[in-house]
């Protein structure tokens, strides 16, 4: 090979690799920069009182207690609805049937659902749960809408977790005379639990940060929700309103910090669960 060409190729090689490292480092720094930015601006106002007091003056002062309550209720209830549906779907797809037209249809449904933007879930939840079924703006309507949205995440992760259970374990169950449902319930699901939990936690993270799909189904009420049919204001919506209507930048930063902190905590928890499973 011509030495000049070789030198040029090697220079391009060094340049390309260097550039790719640079971009990767920049992307990594981006996350640190975002978290750092929120910490810098939100930390001064963060206190126990912020979590334990009711908001004053539309959120310009006070705390975010009812907002935390709405968020917890919404997240918990949506998982309560989506997890059984998602795990049962995954069990059916992996244990009870072979690949065929039926599984293709179910997978296609889940894949489509995963691609639908949250604002369309919002429209759907509004017209079906809030209007047609007469739930009004409520925690229940919001949780049902969120459950529809996180369903594909739970199906996919549960499917992967169940598939990873070694076939030999099932054979042991069958050889002892267990029925299929007994094998699934007593052997497969316990074995797949860490993987399933990871999916559930990821879904929770997604549900907690969601705005577009809950703003039209749960409402924006700052009152404390006393029942599941009361409206509420989840944290992401509260933050959106604070920032968008320019009510209070300090409160917006602090709410953002709380929200991101909560979601990062949830995600790190999921990663920790998965790592613990791998090491065991």
């Amino acid at each position: 090979m011509d030495p000049a060409v070789r030198t040029r190729n090697e220079r391009i090689n060094r340049l390309g690799i260097g550039l790719s490292y640079l971009v990767t480092a920049a992307v990594g720094l981006l996350l640190a920069a975002i978290v750092g930015y929120l910490l810098w601006n939100g930390w001064p106002r963060l206190s126990a009182a912020f979590f334990l007091h009711h908001p004053e003056d539309l959120g310009r002062g006070g705390g975010i207690l009812p907002v935390i309550l709405s968020t917890v209720l919404l997240g918990g209830l949506s998982l309560l609805i989506a997890v059984p549906l998602g795990v049962c779907t995954a069990v059916y797809l992996t244990e009870y049937t072979t690949e065929g037209r039926l599984t293709t249809a179910i997978r296609f449904g889940a894949e489509c659902l995963a691609g639908i933007p949250s604002i369309i879930f919002g429209l759907f939840g509004f017209i079906l749960f809030v209007v047609t079924l007469g739930m009004g703006w409520s925690i229940l309507a919001g949780a049902l809408t969120l459950a529809c949205m996180v369903l594909p995440t739970i199906i996919r992760t549960a499917e992967e977790a169940i598939k990873a259970v070694p076939a030999g374990l099932r054979d042991v169950g069958y050889s002892l005379g267990a029925t299929k449902s007994q094998v699934v319930w007593h052997i497969v699901l316990p074995e797949a639990r860490p993987g399933i939990m990871t999916g559930i936690i990821l879904a929770l993270g997604r549900a907690l940060g969601e705005t577009a799909c809950v703003i039209f189904t749960t409402g924006v009420s700052l009152e404390t929700p006393m029942s599941l049919l009361d409206p509420g204001r989840p944290m992401a919506v509260h933050f959106y309103i604070l920032a968008r209507e320019g009510l209070s930048m300090e409160m917006a930063y602090t709410t953002a910090l709380t929200l991101v902190g909560l979601i990062l905590l949830v995600n790190v928890g999921a990663a920790w669960l998965l790592a613990r499973k791998r090491s065991s």
């Binding site: 090697e10 391009i12 090689n13 390309g16 690799i17 790719s20 971009v23 990767t24 992307v27 990594g28 981006l30 996350l31 975002i34 930015y37 929120l38 059984p84 549906l85 049962c88 779907t89 059916y92 797809l93 009870y96 179910i106 296609f108 449904g109 659902l113 691609g115 639908i116 933007p117 949250s118 604002i119 369309i120 879930f121 919002g122 429209l123 017209i127 079906l128 369903l151 029925t179 299929k180 449902s181 907690l208 940060g209 969601e210 705005t211 577009a212 703003i215 039209f216 992401a236 933050f239 959106y240 920032a243 968008r244 953002a256 929200l259 979601i263 990062l264 949830v266 995600n267 990663a271």
Partner: protein, 291 residues
Amino acid sequence: MSSSSPMAVDDLRRREERIRLALLCLAFSSVLVLALIILFVFREGVPQILKTGIPAFLAGSRWAPTKGAFGIFPMIVGTVQVTLGALLIGVPLSLLSAICLSEFASRRVRTVMKPLIELLSAIPSVVFGFIGVTVIVPLVRETLGGSGFSVLSAALMLSVMILPTVTSIAYDALRAVPASYREGALALGATPWQTVTRVVVPAARSGLVTAVILGMGRAMGETMAVIMVAGNAVVVPTSPLHPCRTLTSNIALEMAYAAGAHQKALFATGVVLFVMIFCLNSLATFIVRRR
């Protein structure tokens, strides 16, 4: 299982069959939800599109919902511009970092960087929107002029938001290329960079295209963050520094107070968005199948 009389076995078999049927019904939940979404959103939106007329609705430039003028052309253009802008900025960055992590980085760098990039996708979109307003918008305003609320700001912000999606799918696609391809290229005297650009990337092409399409879907469907930085004026933007309104923002901005035909027109906007995203996802599925 304590007794093995024929009767008990029969009972057991019947119970198993019932469980199987129950699971089958539950497994259809995702298909059912998809069907319900199509049914309810289309039932509200499609009649309004037909009433306005398909060409008038899609190509009309006047959006005055209180006066009965429903043309969403500016929003379609806004969505396309913002999405393409996000891809233009985000895809090269995502592909480069996927290449770095998959081909060049040491194991230690990979185990640190991959979760970090994935955590980026956990940050809620409203937070990105807020950072867009407090950082990107002033930056664009001061360096390039205009109000800062613009197609460019939205594209910049979205390019960061699609990074984790595109990077992690592209990474998986690159990793799926057999090691023998790389060994062959290196053995022929190619530099590592030539191996990546001429052998690994072409071999992973369909997976990389899927990654870009899914990132595109994410950018197109983003709502609250875009509202916060795009300016939301109903005009066809002719410069990246002009404000614009996307289909998603059109719905979210006006849903709170819309009623009657206006509300139906917002569902109709949703129908158009749904069809666009659906086509994109079908394309992605098709490419994955063909592989």
